[in-house]
Amino acid sequence: MRNIGIIARKEVKTYFTSPIAYVVICVFLVLVGFFFYSAIWWFNSQAIQMAQNPYYYQQININQMVYAPLFHNMSIILLLMLPLLTMRLFAEEKKTGTDELLFTSPVHVVQVILGKYLAALVVLAAMLGLAGLLSVFTFLWGNPELVQILNGYLGLFLMGASFIAAGLFFSSLTKNQIVAAILTFGALLLFWILNWASYSATGIWKDVLNYLSIFQHFDGMTSGILDTTDVVYYLSFSFFALFLTHSVIQSRRWR
């Protein structure tokens, strides 16, 4: 446990002493801010129109009309940005030879992997936490459902965590950071749109493809429904990716 902490602290420090974390967080916030602003603007204009009609006025829901699309947009930004955050984690160590220091030190491979994973989660939490501050405005001038918003953020965090795990895996495969980022992005996008293939699939395949699709599991969370199936999906996605990372690093033994 202590070793995980040592590795994690070092990685977080590296993220924040180099420009990486600041650039990732800033760009993320600018984009989220823009999406939030346009969603609110659209919501306002809808609200004014619907106010003419008492029936429609009842239907107005800030969670559905602002947060659901916002969460969708945020998930796509994460899909684009997290691979850039994780690409260096192992690739850089291999390139500069520092992996030789790590793996000749009395720490377990599992501890190194979890430390790095944790460090990237900290950056992800900072991204989402700061973006969450935008919600203050909606609470000041509106009455959104807090639980639904929290569910959305939890969903984003879990999804981001599985992106990071995948990024860690691809980073362990190569010395080249760009290659790691592209592979991560490609694989995640493929998983994202897997449910498109389910339209043409039949029988059990339809269910399997649907279940494997990242997108499918996020849909519920944006509207505030926390389904254990989805939580289990993201956790097992992360676990599986971390397990593969471990296998890749251990396989130095057979090469």
């Binding site: 220091l101 009395p106 720490v107």
Partner: protein, 308 residues
């Protein structure tokens, strides 16, 4: 302290190390000598637990490297060929991190850091970013990180490569000062490094063991020679043939008025040679011993193949 038995490592089809056995005694500095691509780095990586061996056994301080890797890692300091530096950190930050992952208790880290900085002469750069310090200092940071947890065993892969002569001397002196408390194994392809710093040597070539032992043992067993260089005023031609006639002398050569007389190791002929020179009245001006020529030895061993 370090025991290696029938070690072999295969990278796919390539045999990097085969049937390698040697031992290093406690408190000694041992050189791992061989030309480039001889398997030095591979051997060291196996000893430090970075790579597993394909066959054979290696143990460090009684712990098997494959069965108890963490025990070995705790008592071993390792300087890889490529110095593992996080260049975005300062020297102190980096060494503190290394101390932490080498399991130096939190309360002792400061002390360990101070000691490592002092021993490796890093005081003037300790608060600078590693990316901004010179090659020589980087090498010292590399040695400091190997020393930080006060390991019993030090494994140094080419510790003086890429340094200028003054820095090489400093690093060698530093390594020599660690003799006794630490058992040190250093790899090199430079012979002078072995003769100047090491107590013994393991010579490998193409992954095979060529020879191992203390320097004297090796020189003797490989038909080493000793001799003198003698400077005469007159009678050089006569002297060459007369010296040649002395029983035991293996070779006499002449170069610019100086004669080199060599004989088989252990047969001290200095007295005979000097008496002869005085008796014949050649005017003995100077006499000095010839150093053990390990270069000859090395070249012979490396080119001779496994048969020798």
């Amino acid at each position: 302290m370090i025991e290696v038995e029938h070690l072999a490592k295969k990278y796919g089809e390539l045999m990097a190390v085969r049937d390698l056995s040697f031992t290093v005694e406690k408190g000694k500095i041992w050189g791992l000598l061989g030309p480039n691509a001889a398997g030095k780095t591979t051997t060291m990586r196996i000893l430090t637990g970075f790579l597993p061996a394909t066959e054979g056994r290696a143990s460090v301080a009684g712990f098997d490297v494959f069965e108890k890797p963490n025990e070995v890692k705790k008592i071993t300091g390792y300087l890889p060929e490529v110095i593992p530096l996080y260049t975005e950190m300062t020297v102190s930050e980096y060494l503190t991190f290394v101390a932490a992952i080498k399991q130096v208790p939190r309360s002792k880290r400061k002390e360990a850091l101070g000691q490592a900085i002092e021993v490796s002469g890093l005081a003037s750069v300790k608060n600078r970013l590693i990316e901004n310090i010179s090659r020589g200092f980087k090498q010292r940071v590399g040695i400091a990180q190997a020393l930080i947890h006060d390991p019993q065993i030090l494994i140094l892969d080419e510790p003086t490569i890429g340094l200028d002569p003054a820095q090489i001397k400093e690093i060698r002196d530093l390594i020599k000062s660690l003799r006794g408390e630490h058992t040190i194994m250093l790899s090199t392809h430079i012979l002078a490094e072995v003769t100047q710093t090491c107590d013994g040597v393991v010579i490998i070539n193409e992954g095979r063991l060529m020879a191992s032992g203390s320097l004297e043992e090796l020189t003797t067993s490989f038909g080493g020679k000793e001799g003198i260089i003698i400077k005469l005023r007159t009678g050089h031609d006569e002297a060459v043939s007369s010296f040649q006639a002395i029983p035991g002398v293996s070779r006499v050569s002449r170069q610019d008025g100086e004669l080199t007389v060599e004989w088989v190791w252990g047969k001290d002929l200095r007295e005979t040679v000097s008496r002869l020179a005085v008796e014949r009245g050649w005017g003995l001006l100077e006499m000095r011993p010839v150093a053990i020529n390990i270069e000859d030895l090395y070249l012979r061993i490396v080119s001779g193949g496994a048969g020798q």
